[in-house]
């Protein structure tokens, strides 16, 4: 792809994202579509987030417990799990699961609407496709991903508790005290800012790729793949950038 095409695509993406956000404060508002999208993105993703978060928490505490056991630092397992899950793994894990389920769904749904001339039909009927299709998806992702992240964090901590107490035979009291210690304002802010940004990135990138679908079934496959791959890349890169910025703002020395 030529540099000019990349710049054009970035410009189109930027315009779509801005128009999608502007749609949140300008009439008409599509409440019903927004609620439907929140149901699809939030309630629909609940079970998979619960499952993934639970097992990630258990796997993480197994690894940490084993390593800390060698160093005689097993009592720090809870603290390490808490910090890792709340600040880093929880938001990223939820965002990646969300991308696979919701982002791919958005891109393929909008793509098939483009190919079936349904988006053109909306324009013919005087309906702005960005307000009708993109804005509700942006709102739903920006609201539901943080909610899912909090649920995921809680489940990861619970999964880790099971391993720490029943497999590693450590004190449950010490574990919960460690978790309570890491639940301070700095860590909560560091972990809760990210899902809002990730939600916006996933929805805007997926909607953009869906609306740019061209060329039948192969084009739809390409659009969905691009949506997932670009969302994942943007999550990982923005996670690094956000971590760096948040650590600086919150006064942590690196």
């Amino acid at each position: 792809m030529k540099a000019k095409e990349i710049i054009n695509e970035l410009q189109d993406y930027y315009l779509l994202a801005v128009r999608g956000l502007v749609g949140t404060v300008r009439r008409p508002f599509y409440f019903r579509d927004t609620i439907e999208q929140m149901d699809y993105a939030g309630a629909g993703s609940f079970f998979i987030i619960v499952l993934v978060a639970l097992f990630i928490g258990m796997a993480l505490s197994l690894q940490l417990s084993a390593e800390f056991g060698r160093l005689g630092l097993r009592m720090y397992t809870g603290k390490a799990v808490g910090i890792t899950v709340i600040r880093e793994i929880g938001p990223v894990m939820a965002a990646l699961v969300f991308t696979g389920r919701v982002g791919a769904g958005m891109a393929s749904e909008l793509g098939s609407m483009v190919l079936g001339h349904q988006v053109d039909s909306l324009r013919v009927f005087g309906v702005d496709p960005v307000k009708k299709l993109v804005t509700p998806r942006l709102i739903s992702s920006i609201i539901m991903l943080p909610v899912l992240t909090i649920i995921g964090d809680a489940l990861s901590v619970l999964g880790a508790y099971y391993i720490v107490v029943y497999v590693s035979n450590q004190s449950g009291y010490v574990y919960w005290k460690s978790i309570r210690d890491v639940l301070n304002a700095e860590n909560i802010i560091a972990g809760s800012v990210k899902p809002f940004i990730f939600g916006f990135l996933i929805a805007s990138i997926s909607c953009y790729n869906g609306l740019m679908t061209r060329g039948g079934a192969a084009g739809l496959r390409q659009a969905t793949t691009n949506a997932v791959v670009l969302s994942i890349i943007s999550i990982i890169i923005s996670d690094f950038a956000l971590t760096r910025i948040l650590l600086y703002i919150l006064g942590f020395s690196v």
Partner: protein, 244 residues
């Protein structure tokens, strides 16, 4: 009146229309013929302002629509009633909601009035029994008829645009759609039908345009079409002779 003045259009690097010029009056019954990928659907989208040409002008009732904004194009689009290829019904809505969609956007009907209007429109196209079905439960013919009903919903168009309205349909359903197209244009309203089915085009249209390589290689009446010497048109006409 629609005027294309030296219009060129391309999808990326693929040039589709090259310096295309023609004019169509409101009450004409025009069939645009041509092979797949020759830009027939693109012409309809350009008329509706859904695409913008790379160069040239498109005039609708004396106004250049290529310089209009999306909100200004709303008035232009209300002059036409378009039925997209395959119907383009919203697949998350049932037939009732599909037809009511436009009415909800444009008119402030009560739910009772809305229901009555939807039933009226569906009875015009003969599919009132499909009121509560979802689009994927409809047959191909019913799908197109519901799409026609939806296109009639809110506007009083001066002209109808049909994109491959009979493609993929069996002869009986294709015949029903052709009758409907003729009926709807009976009040001195014209239409443009884009198709590669010469038999259906011959049934409904009075003027024929043939697109090849992005330009109009033929523009004339039925009699002229039958005598045309363009090889591609003769291939199309051989299908008709086979039918007869």
């Amino acid at each position: 009146m629609i005027i294309f003045d030296h219009v060129s259009f391309s999808y990326g690097n693929r040039s589709v229309l090259k310096d295309l010029s023609f004019s169509i009056t409101d009450n004409e019954r025009v069939a645009i013929l041509g092979g797949s990928g020759e830009g027939k659907t693109t012409i309809l989208k350009l008329i509706m302002g859904l695409l913008r040409p790379d160069s040239g002008y498109i005039m609708v009732d004396g106004e250049d629509i290529t310089i209009k904004t999306e909100s200004e194009l709303r008035d232009v689009r209300m002059k036409f009633s378009i039925v997209f290829q395959e119907g383009a019904l919203f697949d998350s809505l049932n037939v009732r909601e599909n037809v009511a969609f436009c009415l909800r956007e444009y008119a402030k009907y009560s739910e009772e009035e809305l229901d009555r209007r939807v039933r009226e429109l569906l009875s015009v196209v003969g599919v009132e029994q499909a009121l509560d079905l979802m689009p994927d439960e409809l047959s191909g013919g019913m799908h197109r008829r519901v799409a026609i009903a939806r296109s009639l919903a809110a506007f009083d168009p001066v002209m109808f645009l049909y994109d491959e309205p009979t493609s993929g349909l069996d002869p009986v359903n294709a015949d029903t759609i052709c009758r409907l197209i003729i009926e709807l244009s009976s009040a001195n309203k014209g239409f443009i039908i884009v198709t590669h089915k010469i038999y259906d085009a011959m049934r409904v249209a009075g003027r024929f345009m043939f697109i090849k390589g992005g330009i109009v290689v033929f523009d004339g009446s039925r009699e002229m079409l039958e005598k045309a010497t363009v090889p591609e048109i003769q291939i199309f006409m051989s299908e008709l002779r086979g039918t007869n």
